[in-house]
C-alpha cells in the first residue's frame, strides 16, 4: 500500500494545510481525513509540533465516522495523556462511547461535564444527539427547545431543530426556526430556499405567495440556485391555477411562471452546449415542464 504522499506527490506541509482547510471549512470527508491524518500522525508527528493535538481531534472524529475504532482509541489515548482534565477531551471520549452505542455511559460522562461547568454547550448538544440517535425525536425536540431557550444564538441548534420538526411534519414550527436562521444570515440563499420549500409544503394561498417571494429572494442572492428556480416555477403556476385568485394575480403569476420556464430552458441549453445529447435533453426539459403544469381541478 503506497502512502498518500507517494500517490499524490504531496509534502507533509501540504497535507497539514489540507487538513487545516478541511477543519476550518467544516468538511465531512471522513475517509480522506483518516487517510491523510493517519499518515501525518504516523510519519511526521515530530515535525508537526503543537498542531498535532488538534489534528488528533480531527482524525479521531473522522475515524469514528469510518468505524476505525483502533485509530480513534489511539488518538484518544494521546489526547488524554496530554490534557488529563480537559472537558474537550471528555467530550471526545463520550463521542467514542456513542459510536459504540454505549449510550448510558456516554450520558453519564456528559452529565459529569455539565455538573462541573453548566455553560458547556458541547456536552448538552451531544446529549441531544444521543436522543436523536436512539430515535426519541419528541424528547430530542423538547430538550433542544430547552437548550435554545438559554442559548438563543446557537445557529447550529436552530438548524437541527428545524430538521427535527420537518421530520415530524410540524411545518409551522420548522418555519419559525428557519426564520431565526434567515434573520441572522440574511445573505444565505440556502436558508431562504429551505424556508420557501417549507412554506410551499404547508400549502394555502398565503403560504404559496410567501414561498414564491422567498424563492425569488434565494435566486436574487444566488442566480445559480436551480432548485429555487424550479420552486419559483412551481409556486407561481400553482397560484395561477388556483380558482380563488383575482385575474390580476393570475396574470402576474403566469408571467412569473413563463419567465421561470424560459430561464430553465436557457440553463439546460447552456448545459448541453457542444454535446450531442443537447437536443434530447432540452426536449426532455420542455416535456417535464409541461407535465408539471398544475391543471385546474
Amino acid at each position: 500500500m503506497s502512502s498518500i504522499s507517494e500517490l499524490y506527490d504531496v509534502s507533509w506541509e501540504e497535507m497539514r494545510d489540507k487538513l487545516r482547510k478541511w477543519r476550518e471549512e467544516n468538511y465531512r470527508n471522513s475517509e480522506q481525513i483518516v487517510d491523510v491524518g493517519e499518515e501525518l500522525i504516523n510519519e511526521h508527528a515530530s515535525k508537526l509540533g503543537d498542531d498535532i493535538w488538534i489534528i488528533y481531534e480531527q482524525v479521531m472524529i473522522a475515524a469514528l465516522d469510518c468505524s476505525r475504532d483502533d485509530l480513534a482509541w489511539s488518538c484518544l489515548q494521546e489526547l488524554k495523556r496530554q490534557f488529563p482534565d480537559s472537558h474537550r477531551v471528555k467530550r471526545l471520549a463520550g463521542m467514542r462511547l456513542e459510536a459504540l452505542e454505549r449510550y448510558e455511559d456516554a450520558n453519564k460522562l456528559y452529565d459529569s461535564i455539565l455538573q462541573d461547568d453548566p455553560t458547556n454547550t458541547a456536552a448538552r448538544k451531544r446529549k441531544i444527539s444521543i436522543l436523536r440517535a436512539q430515535g426519541k425525536s419528541s424528547e430530542a425536540i423538547r430538550e433542544l427547545n430547552e437548550y435554545l431557550e438559554q442559548f438563543v444564538g446557537d445557529q447550529e441548534a436552530w438548524h437541527e431543530l428545524s430538521e427535527l420538526y420537518i421530520n415530524e411534519h410540524d411545518y409551522a414550527k420548522a418555519a419559525f426556526c428557519l426564520e431565526e436562521l434567515m434573520m441572522t444570515n440574511p445573505h444565505n440563499h440556502l436558508y431562504c430556499e429551505q424556508y420557501a420549500e417549507v412554506k410551499y409544503t404547508q400549502g394555502g394561498l398565503e403560504n404559496l405567495e410567501l414561498a414564491r417571494k422567498y424563492f425569488a429572494q434565494a435566486l436574487k442572492l444566488n442566480n445559480r440556485n436551480m432548485r429555487a428556480l424550479f420552486g419559483l416555477y412551481m409556486s407561481a403556476s400553482h397560484i395561477a391555477a388556483s380558482p380563488k385568485v383575482s385575474a390580476k394575480v393570475k396574470k402576474d403569476n403566469v408571467k412569473y411562471a413563463a419567465w421561470a420556464t424560459s430561464q430553465i430552458s436557457r440553463a439546460y441549453q447552456m448545459a448541453g452546449r457542444g454535446k450531442k445529447e443537447n437536443k434530447c435533453s432540452v426536449k426532455a426539459v420542455e416535456e417535464m415542464l409541461e407535465s408539471m403544469q398544475i391543471t385546474m381541478s
Binding site: 455553560t119 438563543v152 440574511p186 414564491r212 417571494k213 425569488a216 445559480r224 430561464q263 447552456m270
Partner: protein
C-alpha cells in the same frame, strides 16, 4: 538659546543605556509568565451568557427584521415588548452591585494585578535611581521646556543644563512604554507584559461581557425595539429579479 553640546563618556552607553534596556525587557517577559501562572479562569455565569445572547437576538431582529414576513416580525416583537408578558418587561434580574472592597474575587484579582505590575516597576525604578544617579544618560532629540527639568533630571543639580539631557530614570520609563511593541512581537498579542494597556484597563473600569446592570440594557433594548417598523425587503423582489436574465456563469464547467 542652544546649550553647548556635551560629549558623554561612551562607557555610559555601554554600561547604562544598554543594561537598562535589557533589564526592562527581561523583567517584562518575566512579568508575563508570572501573570500566566497566577491567572485563574473566570467563571462565566449561565444567566449572563443567556442574557447577552437574548440582547444580541433582539438587536439582530431590529437590523434584519425586514427580511422576515410581517407576521413573523410582529410575533417576535410581541414576544419581546408586550406590555404584560414581553421578555423585556417581565424579566427583572437581581443585580448585586459589586463593591470592589468586599467582593473577594475582584479583590484578589486587583491584588494580583498590583503585585505583578506596579511592584516591579517601583522596585526597578528605585534601584535604577539609586544605582545610576548623578549623571546625564542621554539626550532626547527634541527640545523641552524648563518645566520638565525637575522631572527628568533627578539627581542632577545643574541649573543651566538643557532640559533635553535626561537622567537614567527617565530613560527607564521611556523603555517601559517603548518596548510594548517588542513584547507584541515576541510574546504575541494580548500579553500580560503590556503595562500601559493594563493601566488603561484600570482606568476604564471593569468591562466584562455584560454590562453590570442587565435591567438597564433590557430597558434600552425595549425602547429601541418599540420604534422599529417593519419594511419588508421582499416587497418587489420578483420585479427586481426578472428585469434581467439569470447569470449562470460558473454553473457548468
Amino acid at each position: 538659546m542652544a546649550g553647548p553640546e556635551l560629549l558623554l563618556d561612551s562607557s555610559i552607553r555601554l554600561w547604562v543605556v544598554l543594561p537598562i534596556v535589557f533589564i526592562t525587557f527581561i523583567v517584562g517577559v518575566l512579568r508575563h509568565y508570572v501573570t500566566q501562572l497566577l491567572h485563574n479562569e473566570k467563571k462565566v455565569d449561565l444567566q449572563q451568557v443567556s442574557d447577552s445572547q437574548v440582547l444580541l437576538r433582539s438587536r439582530i431582529l431590529r437590523e434584519n427584521g425586514k427580511y422576515l414576513p410581517k407576521q413573523s416580525f410582529a410575533m417576535r416583537k410581541h414576544y419581546f415588548n408586550n406590555p404584560e408578558t414581553g421578555f423585556f418587561k417581565k424579566v427583572k434580574r437581581k443585580v448585586i452591585p459589586k463593591n470592589p472592597m468586599t467582593d473577594t474575587s475582584m479583590l484578589t484579582d486587583m491584588m494580583k494585578g498590583n503585585l505583578t505590575n506596579v511592584l516591579p516597576m517601583i522596585l526597578i525604578g528605585g534601584w535604577i535611581n539609586w544605582a545610576f544617579s548623578g549623571f546625564v544618560t542621554t539626550k532626547v532629540p527634541f527640545p523641552l521646556t524648563l518645566r520638565f527639568k525637575p522631572m527628568l533630571q533627578r539627581g542632577i543639580e545643574l541649573l543651566s543644563l538643557d532640559a533635553s539631557w535626561v537622567s537614567s530614570a527617565s530613560w527607564y520609563f521611556l523603555n517601559v512604554f517603548g518596548l510594548r511593541s517588542m513584547y507584541t512581537l515576541i510574546l504575541g498579542q494580548d500579553n500580560a507584559a503590556d503595562q500601559s494597556r493594563i493601566m488603561q484597563d484600570q482606568m476604564t473600569g471593569a468591562a466584562m461581557a455584560m454590562p453590570p446592570d442587565p435591567n438597564k440594557a433590557f430597558k434600552s433594548e425595549w425602547e429601541a425595539l418599540e420604534i422599529v417598523e417593519h419594511r419588508w425587503a421582499l416587497e418587489n423582489v420578483e420585479e427586481e429579479l426578472m428585469c434581467q436574465d439569470l447569470n449562470f456563469r460558473g454553473l457548468f464547467s
